[in-house]
Each structure stands twice: as structure tokens, then as C-alpha cells.
Symmetry: C2
Subunit: 232 residues, 2 copies
Amino acid sequence: MSEAGTGNLAKIQLLASLNADEMESVNKACRWKLYAAGEQIIDQHSESQDVFFVVEGRVRIVNYSLSGREVTFDDLDAGSHFGELAAIDGLPRSASVLALENSLIAALGPEHFGAVLSRHPSIAVKVMRHLAHLVRTATARIMDLSTLGANNRVHADVLRLALLVADDNNTARISPIPVHSDIASRVSTTRETVARVMNDLARKGIVERGKNFLIVKDVARLQDMVDEVRGD
Amino acid sequence: MSEAGTGNLAKIQLLASLNADEMESVNKACRWKLYAAGEQIIDQHSESQDVFFVVEGRVRIVNYSLSGREVTFDDLDAGSHFGELAAIDGLPRSASVLALENSLIAALGPEHFGAVLSRHPSIAVKVMRHLAHLVRTATARIMDLSTLGANNRVHADVLRLALLVADDNNTARISPIPVHSDIASRVSTTRETVARVMNDLARKGIVERGKNFLIVKDVARLQDMVDEVRGD
């Protein structure tokens, strides 16, 4: 981690409605830091209440069980924010955050964040919409964990990745190839289970492994397999 | 369900900061209804975007899987509100809500709710805090589902109930006796598993069944059993 002077908050979605002067004022209130890939940005047990903006790079929201099991909650790209829960309610951090790539991060103290919300009701509304999105995502994951088998959850995660890049011919080229331990951490299962399910999908001709990509050869069939158990 | 004229919103925590005139104005904007125990208030597949206030009674936030499995998210007492996700983001309902007792419910349309939030920033802050609480609760449940066995989750739910009524002598009298299917729905397991775990706790002398109550005879020991796996 190293100090980084200041950067540009213009790409941060939450702050997009600020005019140049207001943006400059938030800019000055932020502490700017560069984090190397793999470095921790928030320790789950820290007492800070800053809100963070991902100016450049990519970060992962993650939690660890007592036994060391990793549970991934989300990966965030440049333009995102995180850490708002502690800034809003003053309670301890709910998760850890680490840099997946070299990342430029701006940190805004809770008192400044509160001032931005009270001066800009439209930003407060955006914060509410984002929190509502987090509740919905978590609710869907609780339903999946409560009612689907691990194999179904792996299918759903591969489908989610495929739908981001699906073409018109019912195929999707996911690149780079998904890391089994990442899928395992996102759907709360073991790497071994992910490997077994991926082999099974390959044997059925639904996916095919390339050098550094995964082709989903029949997105519709994968969608049917997921719909059948999830009922979407 | 029957029309109910108007009632009194004074006990609704979210609205506590309104003065008498403002409260009267919200009061008039609400539609009031009585729901019988067991009646559905929100259908997960409905398109309404009202926010609801529990003026009298008790309601359950619940979801059903395709296979009919019930997953309980929360039970809310008088003074609570629910349904704000759809009012905030305009998306479909994330869960169903049913009355656990005869309940008097006030429904406020999304446009009125939005007006209250923009006129009263302190209420917007309360909404944010409540959403942050929902995210934290869901995150903790995802961790439990990802890293604990069903027996550990049953222990944690009985502990949670015990801590609400624990006395100074390391015991807790939970009344009425918890319904096995309710515990099962809260921790995402089967009723049979709950019955097995409860029998096991009784055999170990940690709980004892009364006529219509459950005594936890050693709250500290149950706490240790939960801490050992959850690491709180």
C-alpha cells in the first residue's frame, strides 16, 4: 500500500451527479492509496468506518469462517463503492475486502460521507437503491443455499458468467477460464465439487475447456437445468 | 382481509420523528387493512410497491422454493415496517409476507413514501440503517449456511431465542415452546433434523421440555458450543 496523492472520482457511479466544485471538495476529503494485487483493504476486524471508492482496479468482498473457509460476496470493478455499512450504522465491518489487481482506492471518512448524503438527497437515494440491491442478492443466495444442491449452485454460477458474454448462437466464451476455487467460494462449496461438476458438464457436451477460456456450447440447456431447480 | 378505517401510526419506529401534523398527513395517505392470522399480505409475485407498517399484530417474511420448501427471513412485531425494497427500487417483491396473528396493517404508496424520505432526511437515514441491518443479518446467515452444519445452526437458533429471555442463573425459559418447523424454516434444514438435534440437547441435559415452554438449563454451555464453530 502506498500514498497516491489524488486521483479522479469522475467515474464513481455513486458520485456522478456532483458538479465540478462538489466533486473537488469530496476529492480533497478523500485519502488516496494504491494497493497491490492480493493486499487487504479492509480487515473484517478493523474499526474504521470509511467508505471506499474503486478508482482503478478490482476488489473482492470476502469473509472467512473460523475454520478458514473463504466465502466470496462480490467482486467490484472500477467505479464502484464499498464499506458503506459501517459508515451508516457505526458497527464493525461485516466483511473483509482485498485488491484482486493493483487498485487505486479513495477513502472518505464517515462524517464526510454523512455530509454528502444530507447535502445531496439524490445520492442518499442511490445509496438506498444499492443497499436494496445487496439485500436482494443476499436473499437470492440464501434461497439457493437453502434449497439447491451444490451441483445446482455451480450450474447457476457458470450460467451467470455465460449470460454476461453470451452471443446469438446459444454459446458463450468465458475468458479467462473461471478458477474453480473462485466458483467454490462464490457458491459455498468445495473446489473438488466444482471440479467434479465441471467435468460432468464437459462430458455432457455443455461446456468445453480451451487454453485460457471456457466455451459454454449450449447456454439454453444450462439455463433449463438451472430453471428446473430454481424456478426463475 | 377487511377495510379498517384508520388507526394510529404513533408506534411505528420509522415514523417516530414526525410531528402531529406530518403524522396525520401520512396517516391519511395510508390504506388500512385487517388481516386474519395466516392470511397473505404480500404475494412474492405481486407487482405492488407499497411500504407496510405493522400497527398491530405480527407478520412473517418468508420465501418458497420451487419444491415448496419454506425459508423464513424474519418475524416482525407491531411498530415495524416492511416492503421498502420494491418502494425504493421499483423491482418485483423479494419475498412473501403473511400475518402470524390478526394484524392491522397500513399501506403507503411508493410515491408517498418517496415524498416522506425527501422531506425528512432523518427518516431516510433510518431507512438506510435498517437496510444495512438487513444486509448484515443476511451476510451472517450466508456465513452460517456456508460453513456450519445443520445441527450447529439449530444450536445457534435455540441460543438466539434463549438470550432474549436468559436470567442471571445461566438458564432461559422460552415460552411458548419453539415449533420445530419454525426453527427448520429459519435455519434452512428439515423438521426431522431439528427434532433429532433437540432430542440430543435434552439427552445432554442442556434443554428440558415443559408443558408449553422450553428451559435452556445451561445457556453458557450452549453458547460455547456455538462459539466453537462460529468463532464469534
